[in-house]
């Protein structure tokens, strides 16, 4: 005999867990093989506390570890911010220097072309470095703490 899942199974399981399988639902369970099985398995697993003997660590320890992890991540993010800031500052300084030196505040077409070409030369590796740093930080934050 083949059987199919019944649409009332979730309702039955919830009632068994709450301990109030009665009335119409109880009558349904008596007449539905699928729901009866679901009710039996639920009773079995509710009664059998698999893994209950395992002593779990206290919430204080987990909280302390999480706090340390969050602080470490914050420090890493601050370092990244500092590196980005230094790079941007250096770039801005260099470009400003090109604009104002050596002919005062005048900017000629030639100078603008030089400025653009220098910007491109400088920006490309900067973007690559920033992308690499971002990838490293992202990868590091995703790495699992459990290592085997």
């Amino acid at each position: 005999m083949k059987t199919m899942p019944c649409r009332r199974e979730e309702e039955v399981v919830a009632a068994v867990i709450r301990g109030n399988l009665d009335g119409i639902l109880s009558e349904h369970v008596a007449s539905c093989v699928s729901c009866r099985t679901a009710a039996d398995v639920t009773s079995l697993l509710q009664r059998d506390h698999v893994g209950k003997e395992i002593d779990i660590r206290s919430s204080n320890m987990i909280w302390a570890r999480a706090t340390l992890l969050v602080r470490a991540r914050r420090r890493r993010a601050q370092r990244l911010g500092l590196i980005v800031g230094i790079l941007c500052g250096a770039l801005a300084g260099y470009l400003t220097g090109l604009l104002v030196l050596p002919s005062g505040t005048k900017v000629s077409l030639d100078r603008t072309a030089v400025l653009l070409s220098h910007s491109l030369v400088l920006l490309s590796p900067t973007i690559v470095i920033l992308a690499a740093v971002a990838v490293i930080v992202f990868w590091d934050s995703r790495a699992p703490a459990i290592r085997h």
Binding site: E10, A38, I62, A66
Partner: protein
Amino acid sequence: MIDRSRFESIYRETSSKVTRYVGSVIGRSSQVEDITQEAYLRLLTSAPDRLSDRQLKSYLFTTATNIIRDLWRRGAVTGDWMPLDQENTTHAVSMGAVAEKVDVTKALESLSIMQRSLVWLAYAGGYSHREIAEITGIREKSAKVLLFRARQKFISRIRGDGALTERNS
């Protein structure tokens, strides 16, 4: 990061359940503690603050499932993730008087890791099919079908051990 009092309340309410879930799925106590702790760590360090308590609890089970999956991929957790074949276990198996001494752990071990996860979440955790689908990362329809097959295999295994007797026999 969620505040400490909220975390402690969630921890009190869920730690036993999460530990039992992980223990049922991997069946090896040496890793259960580490996986459980890692799930809580990720809850604290990565879960968005705006989640409700119910969502945070689902997040915990999702995280624990993901950690187990990662460990399984790296060979640190043994067993098949999904059943290797389409086992013909859709025949009706009626359970009757449930014996007092049933080796549930042994019956669970006969299932694949995903099947253990589904059976536990549905019948011990009381999660709906939709929630189970979210936690395990599969579609709701697939979750229903896989859960049904897993349940039938679980029952067959228990009956095979002679721990249960058929009501209608």
